[in-house]
C-alpha cells in the first residue's frame, strides 16, 4: 500500500503543490522505483517527479488550473504495472464572489420567493453553497430559507410566517471551500412586492357582426378579492401566425375591454395579466402576474354569414368604400360610436320611411291606396 500527502487539499487557482507518495508494507521491499503519477487520468511528465528516498516519490505541480469536476481532481500514484496504489483529490478554484441582483416577490402576500445571480465571474470550480437569509429590520434573529431551486438554481422560497407592514432585510451568503461572500442587504416590505395569479376566466368573443373587433372579458383574481387594491390590467394579443404581440396598457379597474382595428376573418390569441397596484395603500406598483393562458377567438369574415342585417342585398364596392371611410373616421375623429351597425340602422330606417313615402304616393306592391304618416316631402 501507499499513501499520498496531502489528502484532499484545497488550493487557489494558479498556486503550486508539492505532493509525496510513500509506499510501505506489502509487498515487502516495495520501493518508489517505477512508480508514476497521473492527474485526472493523464500521466504526468517525469520531470515533475523526483525520488526523495527509497520509499517516497515526490511531485511538484505549478500554476494549477481550476478543478475539472466538483468531486475534485484525481491525483493518483501508480505502481509500475499501472495499478492504483493511492490517490488524493485536489480542489482548485476561487472563493465565491458577492451574489448580486436579489429580487423577491410575494404571491398574494402569503409567501416570498427570491432570486439572485452569483458573482460576476461565475465559475468558481468548486461547489458553492448558497444560503438566503432574512430578518425583520427592527428586531429578531436571522432566519434561513430552506426551500431552494424553486425557480431556477439560484432561488429560494419562504412559504409562511411573514409579517406585513414591516420591513425585512434579505441577503444571500455564498460559501465554498476557499471562503465565503455575502451580498448586499435588500430591504423590502412584503406589501411592496405583491404579485397575484393571472385573471381567471378570460373570455374573448365577437362583437355582433363587427369584423374588426373582439370583446375581452375576465374576472379579477379571486385570491386578492378581500383586499383593497386598484387592479391594473394589461392585455396583449396577436394574430395566430405572428410572434408580434400588441399590448393594450392602462386598463384600470375594469374587467372588460374591446379590441378594435383588427383584421376580419382572423384568429387572434389574447392574454391578460394583473398588477395588484397599491395594495393596502402601498405607494408602489405591484408586480405583474403571469399572463393568463392564451384564449383564441376569430373575427367575422367579411362578406360572410356575419353580414349585418340590412335587408337589401349588398352592393360590394359601395359597402367596401363606406367601411374604409368609417374606419378612417374612427381613427381620426372621436366618433367611437360609428359602425356598420349604425349605418345599417340608418338604412333600415330609410327603407321604412321609403315604404311609408311610397304608401303616401300610393305606390304599394299590392296596389292598395291609403293614407300614411311619414316625413313631409
Amino acid at each position: 500500500t501507499a499513501v499520498i500527502s496531502p489528502q484532499d487539499p484545497t488550493l487557489l487557482i494558479g498556486s503550486s503543490l508539492l505532493a509525496t507518495c510513500s509506499v510501505h508494507g506489502d509487498p515487502p521491499g516495495a520501493t518508489a522505483e517505477g512508480l508514476y503519477w497521473t492527474l485526472n487520468g493523464r500521466r504526468l511528465p517525469p520531470e515533475l517527479s523526483r525520488v526523495l528516498n527509497a520509499s517516497t516519490l515526490a511531485l511538484a505541480l505549478a500554476n494549477l488550473n481550476g478543478s475539472r469536476q466538483q468531486s475534485g481532481d484525481n491525483l493518483v500514484c501508480h505502481a509500475r504495472d499501472g495499478s492504483i496504489l493511492a490517490g488524493s483529490c485536489l480542489y482548485v478554484g476561487l472563493p465565491p464572489e458577492k451574489p448580486v441582483n436579489i429580487s423577491c416577490w410575494s404571491k398574494n402576500m402569503k409567501d416570498l420567493t427570491c432570486r439572485w445571480t452569483p458573482g460576476a465571474h461565475g465559475e468558481t470550480f468548486l461547489h458553492t453553497n448558497y444560503s438566503l437569509k432574512y430578518k425583520l429590520r427592527w428586531y429578531g434573529q436571522d432566519n434561513t430559507c430552506e426551500e431552494y431551486h424553486t425557480v431556477g438554481p439560484y432561488s429560494c422560497h419562504i412559504p409562511k410566517d411573514l409579517a406585513l407592514f414591516t420591513p425585512y432585510e434579505i441577503w444571500v451568503e455564498a460559501t465554498n471551500r476557499l471562503g465565503s461572500a455575502r451580498s448586499d442587504v435588500l430591504t423590502l416590505d412584503i406589501l411592496d412586492v405583491v404579485t397575484t395569479d393571472p385573471p381567471p376566466d378570460v373570455h374573448v368573443s365577437r362583437v355582433g357582426g363587427l369584423e374588426d373587433q373582439l370583446s375581452v372579458r375576465w374576472v379579477s383574481p379571486p385570491a386578492l378579492k378581500d383586499f383593497l387594491f386598484q387592479a391594473k390590467y394589461q392585455i396583449r394579443y396577436r394574430v395566430e401566425d405572428s410572434v408580434d404581440w400588441k399590448v393594450v396598457d392602462d386598463v384600470s379597474n375594469q374587467t372588460s375591454c374591446r379590441l378594435a382595428g383588427l383584421k376580419p376573418g382572423t384568429v387572434y390569441f389574447v392574454q391578460v395579466r394583473c398588477n395588484p397596484f397599491g395594495i393596502y395603500g402601498s405607494k408602489k406598483a405591484g408586480i405583474w402576474s403571469e399572463w393568463s393562458h392564451p384564449t383564441a377567438a376569430s373575427t367575422p369574415r367579411s362578406g360572410g354569414a356575419c353580414e349585418p342585417r340590412g335587408g337589401e342585398p349588398s352592393s360590394g364596392p359601395v359597402r367596401r368604400e363606406l367601411k374604409q371611410f368609417l374606419g378612417w373616421l374612427k381613427k381620426h375623429a372621436y366618433c367611437s360610436n360609428l359602425s356598420f351597425r349604425l349605418y345599417d340602422q340608418w338604412r333600415a330606417w330609410m327603407q321604412k320611411s321609403h315604404k311609408t313615402r311610397n304608401q303616401d304616393e300610393g305606390i304599394l306592391p299590392s296596389g292598395r291606396r291609403g293614407t300614411t304618416r311619414g316625413p313631409a316631402r
Binding site: G41, Q70, S71, N74, I84, G87, C89
Partner: protein, 202 residues
C-alpha cells in the same frame, strides 16, 4: 357425506390451512430468482453512472481496477467446485451475508456521494434504488431460509469503523468497489437461485 356438507367442511378447513402452512420453498425461490434477474439488468448501469461522476481515471472508458478491494465486503467469486458443493444453508447464508453488507455499503456510498457530488440526483437516486432492491432480495432470501427450516442470519453492522475518516479519494474508490461487487454478487445470486430452483421445482 352429502355434497353441501363436504363443501362446508372444506371452506372451514381452508383458512386454517393457509395460515398455518408456510410458503413453499419453490415459490419463495422462484420469487427471489425473478428479483435477482430483474436486478441484474441494472447493475452495469449503476456502475457506469457511478464512474462517470468521479472524473478521470474512473470515468475513462473501460476503467477497471481489480486491485481495489474492501475487506468489509465478501468476495463474490469462488472456486467452481467449492461453490457447486455448498449445501443449501451455506449457499444462502453466504448470499445473505453479502447482500446485508451491500445494503449497508450502498447507504454509505450514497452518503459519500451526496457530499462529493451534491446536485447529482440521478446518481443518488440510482444508489438509493439499488439499496432498496438489495434489501428486497435479502427479505426474499430470509423467506427461503424459513421455508427450508434453516436458521436466520443475525443482522450485524458490517461497516464498523471502516466508514469513518476516509479521504475523498478513498471514498471514490470505495464506491467503485461497492457498485462493482453489487454487480458481481447479483450475478452470483442469479446462479445460486437457479441452482436452488432446479433443486426445488414448483
Amino acid at each position: 357425506l352429502p355434497p353441501p356438507a363436504h363443501l362446508c367442511l372444506l371452506t372451514l378447513l381452508l383458512p386454517l390451512l393457509s395460515s398455518a402452512a408456510p410458503i413453499s420453498p419453490a415459490e419463495s425461490i422462484s420469487q427471489a430468482y425473478s428479483l435477482a434477474l430483474y436486478m441484474q439488468k441494472n447493475t452495469s448501469m449503476l456502475l457506469q453512472t457511478y464512474l462517470q461522476y468521479q472524473g478521470s481515471p474512473f470515468s475513462d472508458p473501460g476503467f477497471s481496477a481489480p486491485e481495489l478491494q474492501l475487506s468489509s465486503l465478501p468476495p463474490a467469486t469462488a472456486f467452481f467446485k467449492t461453490w457447486r458443493t455448498l449445501d443449501d444453508g451455506e449457499r444462502l447464508s453466504l448470499a445473505q451475508g453479502a447482500f446485508l453488507a451491500l445494503t449497508q455499503h450502498l447507504q454509505l456510498v450514497r452518503d459519500d456521494q451526496s457530499d462529493l457530488n451534491p446536485g447529482s440526483p440521478i446518481l443518488l437516486a440510482q444508489l438509493g434504488t439499488a439499496r432498496l432492491r438489495a434489501q428486497g432480495l435479502l427479505g426474499n432470501m430470509a423467506t427461503i431460509m424459513t421455508a427450508l427450516g434453516l436458521p436466520m442470519l443475525p443482522e450485524e453492522d458490517t461497516l464498523g469503523l471502516v466508514a469513518f475518516g476516509a479521504s475523498a479519494f478513498e471514498r471514490k474508490c470505495r464506491g467503485y468497489v461497492v457498485t462493482r461487487e453489487y454487480g458481481h454478487w447479483t450475478d452470483r445470486a442469479v446462479r445460486d437461485l437457479a441452482l436452488l430452483k432446479a433443486k426445488y421445482p414448483a
